[in-house]
């Protein structure tokens, strides 16, 4: 049943199946189908079960844990119905990116590359450290897969304390840009950062020919 849900989602479950599975969390190691069916028959609808008072549920000889679980559904419903006020970090402009990038050069600066994945409002989705950069093909694959996983529409590369010259890095960035184009994923910029310095390849004109 769990596998069925993972494969096909919860939409196809009958009300009694959904209830049966929820009840299983509070009444383990027992067939909860008869209880699920009798509760639905008693209350008449999904809405009535979820709206039932503590006393009405107690009258059905349900334990405290079961009652709390049933009433918790309403809490979930209220939370989901509410618009979110959570604001993710937004790279609204160049300045914000520079402020954000400060974190890479605080403390010990270790050489490495990070990829900042953003959505089409330039909000931060994922800031990911590239583990293995030796092979270009698998590097592109790694970045493309992650971008799709987090539904990114663009990304920014950050080279921390780079050992290679900027024009060599620029070639790599252009290659990635080209590779990601069929997926409609943009590479906004590549930022080179070190102790007390930051450079944008885009602003240096090194990604220019691609614009």
């Amino acid at each position: 049943m769990r596998q069925k849900i993972l494969d096909h989602g919860t939409g196809a479950l009958a009300d009694y199946e959904l209830l049966e599975m929820l009840l299983f969390n509070v009444i383990p190691r027992r067939d909860t189908k008869p209880l699920a069916k009798s509760l639905l028959a008693h209350f008449g609808s999904w809405l009535s079960i979820c709206q039932a008072s503590k006393r009405e549920l107690e009258d059905c000889h349900l334990g405290a844990k079961t009652i709390v679980m049933l009433q918790f559904i309403r809490q979930c419903a209220a939370s989901l119905a509410m618009t979110d006020t959570h604001n993710p970090f937004c790279f609204a402009d160049w300045e914000r990116l520079l402020v954000y990038a400060d974190r890479y050069t605080q403390g010990d600066v270790a050489t490495g590359t990070r990829v900042i994945y953003v959505n089409n409002r330039n909000e931060l989705l994922l800031d990911h450290f590239l583990t293995d950069e030796s092979d270009i093909v698998s590097l592109h694959q790694q970045i493309a897969e992650l971008a799709l996983d987090v539904n990114a529409t663009a990304l920014i590369l950050v080279y921390i304390a780079p050992r290679r010259p900027a024009n060599v890095i620029a070639q790599h960035v252009l290659g990635l840009k080209h590779a990601l184009r069929p997926l409609s994923i943009e590479v906004y910029d590549a930022l080179l950062v070190g102790e007390n310095w930051k450079k944008s390849l885009h602003q240096e004109g090194l990604l220019g020919e691609d614009e």
Partner: protein, 224 residues
């Protein structure tokens, strides 16, 4: 509590009464973890992960497979239970819609649409088919698209209206990007659907755009 849960009962009552997310996030997360995670030694780790990564209950209930894998949550029952609670909540909010005139109580309608699609990661396009009294016949996802677009087929919507004997529809789609502003493509697509449906005398009552923290109505914006 008699059946051994560590969750303090009075606190839950407080949460249930408040009907708001002001209720203690830690307390709610602890309840779900305690309820659904069977291995005691995993609970502590799970709690730390959840508190570090999820801002509220709704956010947690919408955990994606990818997030689960990234966080390394292996407890299958926990993940499935999140899905179950989400589905249960969705059915509750759908059942809470008025049985008669759907547009009479816009708040409930927005609540429902927010539940269904505000936190989806790709665009989806829903059509609510309504009868003569503007009561809901069926709510159907017509198409799922990508992060910033969905294909909509006016012919298919019109055909479904015929099948369901609908006399009006409400359209809704989500913007995973977070903005509720209709794009030019949204406006054109709406006009195309409206034109197609006018042939069989079906009204488009409204078109809502649902985003994570906001929503908009074509009718209110004067776009219908």
């Amino acid at each position: 509590m008699s059946d051994g849960t560590v969750f303090p009962e009075n606190l839950l009552e407080q949460i249930l009464d408040s009907q708001s997310d002001l209720a203690d996030r830690e307390c709610i997360f602890a309840y779900i973890v305690d309820l659904c995670c069977k291995s005691g030694k995993d609970r502590e780790r799970l709690m730390t992960l959840l508190l570090g990564n999820y801002t509220n209950l709704a956010h947690l209930l919408c955990m994606s497979r990818h997030e689960r894998d990234v966080l390394g949550i292996r407890d299958q029952n926990f993940f499935v239970s999140l899905r179950l609670f989400r589905e249960a909540a969705l059915r509750f909010n759908q059942a809470s819609l008025p049985s008669g005139d759907l547009i009479h109580n816009e708040r409930l309608l927005i609540n429902y649409l927010t539940t269904c699609m505000a936190r989806e990661r790709v665009e989806q396009f829903r059509v609510l088919f309504l009868d003569k009294q503007n009561g809901l016949i069926l709510d159907e996802v017509q198409g799922k698209g990508t992060v910033n677009q969905t294909a909509v087929y006016p012919r298919e919507i019109t055909r479904r209206c015929r099948e369901l004997h609908a006399s009006a529809v409400i359209l809704a789609h989500n913007h995973p990007s977070g903005t509720a502003k209709p794009s030019e493509a949204d406006v054109i697509m709406t006009q195309q659907v409206q034109q197609a449906l006018s042939l069989i005398k079906v009204n488009v009552l409204d078109h809502y755009i649902i985003a994570r923290s906001t929503w908009s109505s074509f009718r209110a914006l004067g776009l219908l």
